[in-house]
């Protein structure tokens, strides 16, 4: 994955590595250099995108992206602004989020959002896969960003054992051991992985939607992502539970509920019958 953005980040990192100086003064100097570099980059980015604001259809878009732009201008422009620059207080800029983000947000129906909430919810999708692809292409051509590799099955050669280990260390704290999701602070939540496709899981890791941290390809390599997706799709979702109905995999809370609602209730009925008069 070598999008513009990443290359720039790599450059930044290299810039930083050099002045990783020990003395305070030199570190300050390093900070100044970094700040300067950041300013330069920001200026550069501005010069790249600013003309786009003035000269509308420039740089020229490919066919799919043009279709995507048409869709964007109908459905997304209210919140994300012209040319996806973002609208203060309504929606963020989409420059650099990449097709992965579009694929996740629009492909799962989270976007377009019905109203501003703590968190966008998964809804029935408004756009067809083809339209999602076109929208993604448009955003990709506008500002670059991460892209999900081609293909629907992204876990073909995944190693479930390795994936399980990755899942437990990176995912289970929010999505729970069974992938059922969990609560976050103040009404936010990590959604269930049950309806997620390979591509959506991949896109979510790449783009870090909402409050999910980003798991770039340097942190979890594409092979590891395949392992992870294999664990989720096969072990968590396809494999049947060997011990009977799994009670929603909520852990001990539903087990406790079951012992009262099923065990105690059944046995109280039994004792009512045993001690009954007739």
């Amino acid at each position: 994955m070598t999008s513009d953005n990443d290359r720039r980040r790599g450059l930044l990192a290299r810039l930083r590595e050099r002045p990783a100086a020990r003395s305070r003064g030199r570190r300050r100097l390093g900070a100044a250099v970094r700040l300067f570099a950041a300013l330069m980059l920001a200026g550069g980015a501005y010069t790249v995108f600013a003309p786009g604001v003035q000269a509308q259809d420039n740089p020229p878009l490919t066919g799919a992206a043009a279709e995507g732009k048409a869709l964007f201008d109908v459905s997304c422009v209210t919140c994300h602004g012209r040319n996806a620059q973002g609208v203060e207080g309504r929606g963020p800029s989409l420059i650099g989020v990449g097709a992965a983000s579009v694929e996740f947000q629009v492909g799962t129906g989270r976007m377009p959002m019905a109203r501003q909430e703590a968190q966008a919810m998964r809804k029935p999708e408004l756009f067809t896969d083809e339209e999602v692809r076109q929208l993604g292409q448009y955003i990709q051509e506008l500002g670059g960003g991460p892209v999900v590799p081609a293909g629907d099955n992204l876990h073909e050669d995944g190693n479930i054992a390795a994936g399980g280990e990755l899942f437990r260390i990176n995912c289970s704290q929010c999505h729970a051991f069974g992938g059922g999701g969990g609560a976050l602070s103040s009404g936010k939540y990590a959604p269930s992985l049950a309806p997620a496709t390979d591509r959506q899981i991949y896109a979510a890791m790449l783009s870090g939607p909402q409050n999910m941290p980003v798991f770039g390809d340097n942190q979890i390599t594409p092979e590891q992502k395949a392992d992870l997706i294999a664990y989720i799709q096969q072990t968590l979702k396809t494999d049947q539970d060997p011990g009977g109905f799994n009670l929603g995999r909520y852990g001990p809370s539903t087990e406790g509920l079951a012992i009262f609602l099923v065990g105690i209730v059944a046995l109280v009925f039994a004792s009512l019958w045993i001690a009954g008069k007739s």
Binding site: A118, I160, A161, G163, G164, E165, R168, I169, S172, Q173, C174, H175, A176, F177, G178, G181, G182, A183, L184, S185, S186, G187, Y189, A190, T235, L236, D241, P242, G243, G244, F245, N246, L247, R249, Y250, G251, P252, S253, T254, E255, G256, L257, A258, I259, F260, V262, G263, I264, A266, L267, V268, A270, S271, L272, W273, I274, A275, G276, K277, S278
Partner: protein, 543 residues
């Protein structure tokens, strides 16, 4: 071929004579066979706990044959593919083997776990029965104390057992337990180091928990349960008030044959329900949790239900840290109050309750008759208060699951719990108290005026009144009312419950219309039918 002739019919008699010659059991055995037990469904709740304990012993022994209580690191190579090649403790690997490589091991593990949950649930339900009926009063205070100790020892048994598989979830629980121990002022770090053999998690805790779980705690449980049952035997069971029942007698069935047969059958039913649940519902899927690693956690990490109230109290506790500015400074962390002090208070309050109540009421008499909850509004209301307190804590222990599944803000759940914990119990007290008084009043009303018949009659002066069926024969009052005294037992409130101790329609699940076959009693003449009461009066004096 000629055999020596044996009189088969005489064998049992001779054998019995032989035994009695040697052990003199005839008299005590007769007493045992003859012991009378009162019969009521609520008296069977404690048995559920007893029977699930037996199931726990049976399945537990099976599990020990395959479990390896060691924290040495091994690489899993069993048949569960998603964990193959993962480094883990021997304890976790052997628990996985029980689940996947021992034939029938998983059902045994699930039965053990479900019966543990049932054991604790039955203890709590039984305890509520004893509390609300006043069965803990003199002379049974000791048994009440033993019963509440049984809850706490069972709690320990459950926690140590829950920790043994050394999976991710139980390890998180163990981590919290170590933090709880650490939070004890002054000695915390020493106690923790002594239990874990150094810094958490160490390499010895699983072995120590194992011996506690399979020997020390079950030994204590067996001892306590034996004394508990022995005392029930010695002091004889309490009974509800009712016809012929007094404080000085026990009305019921002799132990043999019917009572014992029912108990045996009930044991099988409890066992069967546990087996069914273990087959139908998966419990504690340790293979999904992974091995315990200090940096791994899952959303919705909860303990088993009977520990959840502690988790809840911990979640609701505000971040109140007490700093003691002496020397380098010392600290009492907020964790200390909800997990050490609160259980301490609960143990003290629950064990001392019989004495507190007796002292408050200046009641020194022995009580063998139970009380209906409505007749003791104060106690019932206190009980409701305690139950609501416990339920709020338990729900708060699962508040993240509730927040997630019902789409409520997690922070709102915490605040609801905090406010609820202060507001709901007093409310429960008040509401329960009023309900008890209302029920009492209605009982007295029915006793005084009779049962509402639903028949509306128009009086000559044009008023409408409902006709009441009095419960006693007229005693000469002008309005035909006979006052009956309340005896602490069910007052019939519907016409079809009149004239019978039980429901007039027989049958449990569906009514049996056919009358019973004519009773023939070898010991007694048939019971004479009650004289029909025909008088019907209006309840117009009812206010």
């Amino acid at each position: 071929m000629k055999r020596r002739k044996i009189d088969m019919a005489a064998v049992p008699g001779n054998a019995a004579r032989g035994v009695d010659d040697r052990f003199q059991v005839a008299t005590p055995l007769r007493r045992l066979l003859n012991k009378v037990f009162p019969d009521h469904w609520s008296f069977l709740l404690g048995e559920i706990a007893l029977f699930s304990f037996v199931i726990l012993l049976l399945t537990g022994v099976f599990l020990t044959f395959f479990y390896e209580p060691a924290m040495t690191e091994v690489v899993y190579n069993g048949s569960y593919a998603p964990l193959r090649g993962t480094p883990m403790s021997a304890a976790y690997a052997s628990s996985l083997d029980i689940s996947f490589d021992v034939r029938g091991g998983l059902i045994m593990r699930q039965m053990h776990h479900w019966s543990a949950l049932l054991f604790m649930a039955a203890i709590v339900v039984h305890m509520l029965r004893v509390f609300f009926t006043g069965a803990f009063r003199k002379p049974r205070e000791t048994n009440w104390i033993i019963g509440s100790l049984l809850f706490w020892v069972g709690f320990l048994a459950g926690f140590t057992g829950y920790s043994l598989p050394d999976d991710g979830l139980s390890g998180t629980g163990l981590r919290i337990a170590s933090a709880i121990i650490l939070s004890i002022p002054v000695i915390g770090s020493w106690v923790s180091a002594a239990i874990f053999g150094g810094e958490f998690p160490g390499t010895i805790i699983i072995s120590r928990f194992f011996i506690a779980h399979v020997l020390l705690i079950p030994g204590l449980l067996v001892a306590l349960i034996s004394v508990h049952l022995g005392l029930v035997f010695k002091q004889k069971h309490t009974q509800w008030p009712g016809p012929g029942r007094t404080n000085e007698n026990v009305v019921g069935e002799r132990m043999f044959p019917r009572y014992a047969l029912k108990q045996g059958g009930f044991f099988m039913v409890v066992f069967g329900v546990v087996a069914l649940m273990s087959g139908l519902f998966q419990i504690n899927p340790i293979w999904l949790f992974g091995p315990y690693e200090a940096w791994v956690v899952s959303a919705a990490s909860q303990p088993d239900w009977y520990v959840m109230f502690l988790d809840g109290s911990t979640r609701l506790m505000p971040a109140w840290e007490i700093n003691i500015p002496i020397g380098d400074g010392y600290v009492i962390p907020p964790l200390f109050w909800p997990t050490v002090v609160l259980p301490g208070i609960l143990v003290a309050l629950s064990t001392l309750y019989p004495f507190l109540e007796a002292r408050h009421l200046k009641d020194r008499k022995s009580h063998n008759l139970l009380q209906r909850p409505r007749d003791v509004p104060a106690r019932t209301a206190v009980g409701a208060m305690a139950v609501s307190f416990y339920v709020i804590l338990t729900l708060s222990g699962a508040n993240d699951v509730i927040a997630d599944k019902f789409q409520i803000s997690l922070n709102a759940m915490t605040w609801a719990g905090r406010v609820g914990l202060l507001v709901v119990p007093p409310l429960a007290y008040y509401v329960t108290y009023r309900i008890c008084l209302g029920l009492q009043q209605h009982d007295r009303e029915v006793l005084a005026h009779g049962v509402e018949t639903g028949i509306i009659r128009r009086l000559p002066d044009g008023r409408f009144v409902e006709v009441h069926q009095p419960l006693s024969a007229s005693n000469g009052h002008a309005d035909g009312h006979g006052e009956l005294e309340y005896v602490g037992w069910v007052v019939p409130k519907k016409m079809n419950r009149l004239g019978a101790l039980g429901p007039a329609i027989r049958g449990f699940f569906y009514p049996i219309e056919k009358p019973a076959e004519a009773p023939v009693s070898p010991g007694h003449p048939p019971v004479e039918p009650r004289p029909e009461r025909e008088e019907i009066t209006s309840g117009e004096s009812r206010r």
